[in-house]
């Protein structure tokens, strides 16, 4: 299994995996393993699509020991011990003004809008990471027929709650933000609430089912 571990400044280590290892769930498996038994000095874990950023207090951490431990864990991610993850249902208004890019996706994929919605709701998707903006989840993976590059021209303002797809993933905009993904629908669920603990509706590892309203 190909693994790269690099310093990101003196207070973080970036672990990266090959696409295959990432698709098999290595970042989430290693994140879960570290969370179960947090090494001394580690402050935060930021899992991403094919990487994991391990942030630590450099004055309270044996960096070499942490690096050794990470290398071992990253090379042999405990994939079988991957947490089952919570199941979260997200109701979506697909198409229409909530999903203005559905016709364009239909044209690009040769599917009908109904078929696209069926595929999207039939696929259980895992939260791979939260990033881009507070509470913005990246969910994967979509069936290959729905793998589309980002829009050539991003939108200046994507409405809050928009459910969008790009690069084989689903994203949900927690607030009105600029964005280049294809909008297929909108949910009324609140994805980010700074007064809640945890502040995000979804956590890495959660299993999400989209339901058409």
């Amino acid at each position: 299994m190909s693994v790269w571990i690099d310093l990101m400044g003196e207070a973080a280590l970036l672990v990266r995996w090959s696409a295959e290892a990432a698709a098999a769930g290595a970042p989430l498996a290693v994140t879960a393993a570290l969370q179960r038994n947090l090494p001394p000095g580690v402050i935060d874990l930021v899992p991403a699509i094919d990487s994991l950023l391990v942030c630590f207090d450099p004055l309270a951490t044996d960096r070499d020991q942490l690096s050794t431990q990470l290398t071992e864990l990253a090379r042999h991610p405990p994939l079988t011990a991957l947490p089952v993850g919570r199941e979260v249902v997200i109701p979506v208004h697909y198409g229409g003004k909530d999903g203005p890019d559905l016709p364009e996706i239909a044209a690009q994929t040769g599917l009908t809008p109904t078929e696209i919605i069926s595929l999207h709701t039939a696929t259980e998707q895992r939260v791979i990471m939260i990033g881009f903006a507070p509470g913005y989840p990246y969910l994967g993976w979509l069936p290959p027929v729905l793998h589309l590059p980002r829009r050539k021209t991003p939108r200046v303002a994507v409405p809050a709650g928009s459910v969008a797809i790009a690069a084989g993933l689903t994203g949900i905009y927690p607030a009105t933000l600029p964005g280049g993904w294809h909008l297929i629908g909108r949910t009324e669920l609140r994805l980010f609430d700074p007064t809640a603990d945890p502040p995000t509706l979804l956590q890495p590892g959660d299993r999400v089912r989209f339901v058409a309203l």
């Binding site: 990101m8 970036l14 935060d44 930021v46 991403a48 994991l52 942030c55 450099p58 004055l59």
Partner: protein, 333 residues
């Protein structure tokens, strides 16, 4: 609870370009897509707090650039650290890196940078500034609008409540010795560690280490765009990964971005270098138009410098009201 404590406040008369409540940040919030945030210059924040016996991570006011005027509703003890923004307390000069007792109704004004460097100063009050705690911190998260004071920058007319300590200890003026401060200066040379994608963009790395850059007008607490010689554009397309303040990203157009406190916690641009933590206070003192350069360093230096700054903060301020010592600190007008 004393009624005098409940009514104590700081009133904003003029905010300058950006005035926010900031603390030491949200170190565990990245996993939620939330910026680490907090004070741009964490050292100065901690020093301002230590000057008034607060916890070094406590929320304080981050004063940017100048054009700022504040009024104190009642007698309180304040600590000012960071850039020398020509502070005046009721028209009497007040040097930074000192504590001071302010009387009821007195006004603190900060005109702007006195010398050749400096962009941000921190004002701490002995006691507790009212600030909304959210997502593991009390600082203002401007990109998402939460924390601090109503999740936004302060403006004229705002009043920040202050819970003063029940017993106001009238200690002699404290000051923070020069030899226990980071080496603030104009045109700093920031020390870098190579980033994860340094080898993918060797020309960009080489240029970064030889050129002088200027902070672009389109810069904020999220990051500084750096104007300099054209770095070669690239077409590298990476999956987003976790990034840190201090990281230097190279977008496809080749104009580097130095990520600062409010940076998004993930990004997809290659990171060719990371400014060491000990030099982030120097970066925090830069404003648009200022110049800077970079030099490569090693992990041992990064670690040693960070430990040294931690030791300075532990040592804390000097407690002496001798005029001679104050003059040494530059505290007497």
């Amino acid at each position: 609870m004393q009624s005098s404590s409940e009514t104590a406040f700081i009133e904003i008369i003029a905010s300058g370009p950006l005035l926010t409540i900031q603390d030491s940040g949200r170190p565990t919030a990245r996993r939620y897509g939330v910026p680490v945030g907090g004070a741009m210059d964490r050292f100065a924040l901690a020093a301002a707090n230590r000057l008034v016996d607060n916890h070094p991570d406590a929320p304080a006011l981050e004063l940017t650039a100048g054009g700022i005027q504040l009024r104190f509703s009642t007698r309180m003890v304040i600590g000012l650290a960071g850039a020398d923004l020509q502070a005046q307390l009721d028209n009497v000069p007040l040097a930074p890196w000192c504590s001071a007792v302010v009387s009821a109704g007195s006004t603190l004004s900060l005109r702007g940078r006195r010398g050749k460097w400096g962009g941000r100063a921190y004002l701490a009050v002995a006691g507790e500034l009212a600030a909304t705690w959210a997502v593991g911190g009390a600082g203002t998260c401007l990109p998402s609008g939460f924390g601090g004071y109503e999740g936004r920058a302060l403006r004229a007319g705002d009043r920040i409540a202050v819970r003063l300590r029940s017993r106001l200890a009238m200690v002699g003026t404290r000051w923070w010795p020069l030899e226990r401060r980071p080496p603030y200066c104009a045109q700093p040379q920031l020390r870098l560690l190579p980033g994860p994608q340094r080898h993918l963009l060797p020309e960009a790395w080489a240029t970064l280490l030889t050129a002088t850059f200027q902070i672009d007008q389109a810069s904020s607490r999220q990051g500084y765009r750096l104007i300099g010689p054209a770095l070669p554009p690239h077409t590298l397309s990476l999956s987003s990964f976790g990034v840190v303040p201090g990281a230097i990203q190279i977008p496809p157009d080749g104009q580097p971005i130095l990520l600062m406190a409010d940076a998004q916690p993930t990004g997809g641009y290659p990171v060719i270098a990371v400014v060491i933590g000990a030099d982030l206070p120097l970066a925090a003192q830069l404003l648009p138009g200022d110049q800077l350069s970079f030099i490569e360093t090693d992990l041992t230096t990064a670690q040693t410098m960070l430990a040294q700054q931690a030791a300075w903060l532990t040592a804390g301020p000097e407690e002496d009201d001798s005029d001679w010592l104050l003059a040494q600190a530059g505290a007497v007008g």
